[in-house]
């Protein structure tokens, strides 16, 4: 008989979410690449970043992009681990390290985005 009671979670939800987040990421990635590489200055100077970040929608877009990317990536790694039938103790260790790693880096990213100041006087040209 079964030695371990396996999880009731079939993984179907994460499978669907992986596809949905993947589709969203492809769309966002196209925008990201145009924004960063259409002109070299637009992606690599402080002024360009500061200027973009004056619009809260860009901040929200970046937050969504980072969160979705991290979720999609770590869920993908977890999917790879699931293929190898790990022992329960290894399973829980891998999963918890992935979750901690993900939360830590997303929090770091949020901190970076929120630390960029809003300027008081903006002149658009």
């Amino acid at each position: 008989m079964y030695r371990y009671q396996s999880s009731k979670n079939s993984g179907a939800t994460s499978w669907v979410l992986q596809r949905i987040s993947g589709i969203v990421l492809v769309v966002l990635m196209i925008g990201h690449y145009i924004l960063m590489h259409y002109h070299p200055d637009s992606g690599h100077t402080y002024d360009a970043v500061l200027g973009r970040m004056q619009f809260s929608w860009y901040r929200i877009l970046d937050l969504v992009f980072l969160t979705l990317g991290m979720y999609h990536g770590l869920n993908g790694i977890w999917g790879i681990f699931r293929d190898y039938k790990l022992k329960p103790w290894l399973k829980i260790s891998v999963l918890s390290s992935l979750v901690i790693l993900g939360i830590a880096f997303v929090a770091w990213g949020y901190n970076i985005i929120f630390s960029i100041p809003y300027l008081k006087n903006i002149t658009l040209n």
Binding site: I23, H37, P40, F105, I112
Partner: protein, 141 residues
Amino acid sequence: MQEDTVKIKKFDQKEWIKENISYHKDSGNWAWIYHRISGLALIGYLFLHVYSLSTLTAGREAFETKMKAFTTPFFMALEWILFIFVLFHSLNGIRIVLVDWADGARYHKTLYRVSWIAGIVLFLVMGYVMFSHEILKLFGK
């Protein structure tokens, strides 16, 4: 029939890996392998990306000195190589979604070939977009 004669094949990790490596590889199998490799590379890059942008908290000068290093031709070439992984993963991802949620299973091999061709074209276009500014700069424009 006696119950103890029934043998359930136990999962053997080493055997499983061996079987998978020796398995006859068709386009779908290669796509699966490349998808994993590119996915791992991309999540690794995402961590690096958060780290490399962390100087934004330190203000203009720290950020610009770091960006100066990242806009050297060497790093730009690395960025271009990164685009291979991005391209493969997104184009093959679209293929996977089409196979799962549309009629893609009927023409998944064609999709694979088409995504390679589209990928190579987009890679070259990206090279032009990225390096045209640099080449113009070299000639003083």
